[in-house]
């Protein structure tokens, strides 16, 4: 485990606000750090619990997220995952999804800034999807499954707060889309007529 206290000494690494759910939410909302819905306050303790599922250096960027090309460190990603309501065991998927999206061939820059209402879709393949309870069945893209909702939301919050995909500033989507709140499901390998995605 790294020294969180030391990491939080970096400029703008953390913020202090009254220890009150509503006060934290007002603070974050006023700064444009939410998707409009209430967030879970990213306290040091919660962020550390999230990072317990991270085997990388907490301050070493996993990716540079466009259009701001902000450094997506595990520390920053963990704060966004807490805010989104993720469980710590969801965190490796959040990191992996953003690392994959940052592959130059995916053109995340274009996806983030375009006037089109597109959003990256995360499809999780393999045993981890079952372990985490990521829904691949009825209403896979709808509400109801905690893992789908929070993993997708954590990725979106990171795309906004680290990547700078702020509506009207870095995200120029004309109409926007509900898929920009959260967009994550598992592959239903058992019912799929196609080769599984890992093949």
């Amino acid at each position: 485990m790294m020294d969180m206290v030391q990491l939080l000494k970096a400029p703008q690494a953390g913020f202090e606000v009254e220890d009150d759910f509503e006060a934290v939410n007002v603070y974050c909302r006023e700064r444009g750090w939410t998707d409009g819905l209430p967030i879970v306050p990213p306290t040091q303790e919660r962020v550390e619990r999230m990072l317990a599922y991270c085997n990388r250096a907490w301050d070493e960027p996993i990716a540079a997220l466009p259009p701001r090309f902000g450094a997506a460190t595990p520390l920053r990603l963990a704060a966004n995952a807490v805010m989104a309501g993720c469980l710590p065991e969801h965190f490796p998927i959040v990191m992996l999804a953003l690392e994959a999206m940052s592959d130059e061939r995916f053109n995340l820059y274009g996806i983030q800034a375009t006037t089109h209402p597109c959003a990256p879709l995360i499809i999780v393949n393999g045993p981890i999807a079952r372990e985490l309870g990521i829904n691949s069945g009825h209403s896979a893209f709808g509400p109801g499954a905690h893992a789908n909702a929070t993993i997708g939301r954590a990725v979106r919050l990171a795309l906004v707060n680290i990547g700078g995909a702020i509506p009207g500033l870095g995200d120029m989507s004309t109409y926007g889309s509900p898929t920009k709140y959260s967009y994550c499901a598992a592959e239903n390998e058992a019912a799929s007529p196609w080769e599984p995605l890992h093949v």
Binding site: P67, R68, F69, A113, G164, G168, L169, G170, M172
Partner: protein, 72 residues
């Protein structure tokens, strides 16, 4: 455009009003903060050909000025 500018070519970007902040931010992010941005009225989509010509005409004076100055 940022890459072309870094190579020393004459460069400028024409954008409509809502894209000005994004343009300024991206110019800074890509290391060419002085990249000229010519702003024209929004929108660009769904216009008649005459309206498109009017947009071009709006950009033309600044465009010519920058070319004459050899804007980089």
């Amino acid at each position: 455009m940022a890459e072309l500018r870094k190579r020393g070519l004459l460069t400028m970007v024409i954008c409509s009003e809502p894209f000005l902040k994004l343009g300024k931010t991206q110019a800074r992010v890509f290391g060419v903060p002085a990249l000229p941005l010519i702003v024209i009225p929004h929108p660009l989509g769904g216009l008649s050909i005459d309206d498109v010509k009017a947009r071009a005409a709006a950009a033309l004076p600044e465009f010519i000025k920058l070319v004459k100055e050899g804007a980089r």
